[in-house]
Amino acid sequence: MSALLFVIVVVATPTQNWLAYLAFFSILLLLVRLAKLPYRTVFIRSLVEIPFVLFALLMPFFGTGTKVDFLGIELYEAGLWAGAGIIAKGTIGVITAIILSGSTTAREILGGLEKLKVPAPLVSIATFMLRYLSVINDELGRMKIARESRGFEDRGLKSWPILAQTVGALFIRSYERGERVYLAMLSRGFVGAMPRLSEDKSTNWLVALILPGIAATVSLVTGALS
C-alpha cells in the first residue's frame, strides 16, 4: 500500500521538478540498502523496463512545438520532457515494485491484501493459485515428457491440435483436482470461511504513510522552490 501511494505521488510530480526526482531516487537507494537487497539483483530485475526506455528515447524525435538544438540534432522540447518523464517515473515505479517483491514473501503480500480488506474470495483465489501453480506446472511438465517420449516433436502449426489437447487435458485434470481439494476441505469441517492468514489485525497506517509522506513533502517543497 505504501509502495502504491509512493508511486502515485511520484507520478503526480511534474517532470520539470527534477530536484524532487533526485530526492526520490535517493530514497529508493536508501530503501534497497535497508531491505538488504543486492544492487546487482535490483539492476538485473529492472531490465524489464528496457522496451519502455527505448520508446521514451524515440519521443524527442517526434512532436510539435518548440525545438531545441542538441549536438546539431533538432529535438522537440515537449517530447524531451515526456521521454525523460517516462524514464524517470518508470524506473522509480519498477524499482519500488522490485523492493516490494524482494523484501516481502508472496504470503506476506496475501496477508497484506487481507488486511487491506480485499474481498475474502479474491484473497482465497490468490492463495490457492500460489499453492497450486507449482503443482499444475509439474503436471504440465510431466505431460510434455510423456508427449515427447512417444515421439512427439513440436513442428509449428501442425502440432497445435496436440498442444491444444494438452491444454484441454490439463484443464480437466485441474478441474478434477479442484473437486478433490474441495472434498478434502469439507472433510475437515470447511463451512465457507477460510481462516485469516495473519492473526494480527492492526494495520499500521502511520508506518505505511511514512514513505509516501516524505515523497509528497519533497515534491511540494521542491515545487515551491523552483
Partner: protein, 247 residues
C-alpha cells in the same frame, strides 16, 4: 472400557446417479482402538465407502454411525460434529494440503471447529510433532518430499483429534524409507484406524484384522495373518501377496 464402537456400518448400499451400483449391503464394526485394513481390488467400492464415513456421500440405504452418532448428510449441525470425529487422509497429499504453509494447513481443521489463538497453536504443534514434521511448520507444502507431504496430511487430520483415522492407500508412491517411517508413526498413534489399501504387506505390518470389500459387500473378515495364508481365497478377490512374500 468403552463399549461403543468407533465405527458401525449397517447394511449400507449405494448406487451412483447413473445407476451403477457400488455397494450392496456393507456390514462392518470397528471397535475403539482397533486397527483394521480394508482390502479390495481396484473398483471394489473402497473410496465410495470411505466417502460415506463423513457424510460427503449421503447414505441412501442402511446406516453409518461413528462413536454412536449416526451420520446424517442432511443434518448440517451433526455433520460438522461427524467431520471432526472422522479424519480422512486422502491418497494424493497435494489434494489435502491446500494452504500456503504446513502449519496453516494443519490448523485448518481445528480452526473450522472453532479453536483460536494459543489453543490452536498448541493443537497444531502437537499434531506436527506426532508425525515428526515440526521443523517444517513454516515451509510451503510444495517444497517437501512426497513422503513428508503424506506425513503432514496425516497431521492435518490428527489435529482434529478424530475418533477414527481413515487412510486411503497410505503407502502408495512412497519409497521404502518413507513407507517405514509412516508405519512407525501410525503404530505410535493411540487412535482407531481404518486403512484402505491393496498393499497386503503393509496391512499385515500394521493391522491385526483385515476385511475384504469385494463385489460391494464385506466378503471376508479375519485376523490379517490368518487371512493371508489362504492364497486361493485371496485370489478369488483379485488379491495376492507380492512376489517373494509368505504370510
Amino acid at each position: 472400557m468403552n463399549s461403543i464402537p468407533s465405527l458401525r456400518i449397517n447394511n449400507l448400499a449405494y448406487a451412483y446417479p447413473d445407476g451403477h451400483q457400488a455397494l450392496f449391503g456393507v456390514n462392518l464394526e470397528v471397535k475403539k482402538g482397533e486397527k483394521v485394513a480394508l482390502l479390495g481390488p481396484n473398483g471394489a467400492g473402497k473410496t465410495t465407502l470411505v466417502l460415506h464415513l463423513n457424510g460427503i456421500i449421503a447414505t441412501q440405504h442402511g446406516s453409518v454411525s461413528v462413536g454412536g452418532t449416526v451420520v446424517d448428510a442432511r443434518n448440517k449441525e451433526s455433520l460438522r460434529h461427524i467431520r471432526e470425529r472422522v479424519g480422512i487422509v486422502f491418497q494424493d497429499p497435494d489434494d489435502q494440503l491446500f494452504m500456503p504453509t504446513v502449519a496453516e494447513d494443519v490448523s485448518f481443521g481445528p480452526y473450522n471447529s472453532g479453536l483460536r489463538g494459543a489453543e490452536l497453536e498448541r493443537v497444531t504443534t502437537d499434531a506436527l510433532s506426532k508425525v515428526g514434521m515440526l521443523e517444517f511448520r513454516d515451509r510451503p507444502p510444495h517444497h517437501l518430499s512426497f513422503g513428508q507431504r503424506r506425513r503432514v496430511a496425516v497431521a492435518t487430520v490428527l489435529a482434529m483429534n478424530p475418533e477414527i483415522l481413515v487412510l486411503d492407500e497410505p503407502s502408495s508412491n512412497l519409497d521404502p524409507a518413507s513407507r517405514r517411517e509412516l508405519a512407525e508413526i501410525l503404530r505410535s498413534l493411540d487412535v482407531t484406524i481404518l486403512m484402505v489399501t491393496h498393499d497386503l504387506p503393509y496391512a499385515l505390518e500394521l493391522c491385526e484384522r483385515s476385511v475384504i470389500l469385494s463385489g460391494g459387500v464385506i466378503a471376508e473378515d479375519q485376523p490379517t495373518a490368518e487371512l493371508f495364508r489362504k492364497t486361493e481365497l485371496l485370489a478369488t478377490h483379485r488379491l495376492e501377496l507380492p512376489f517373494g512374500f509368505k504370510a
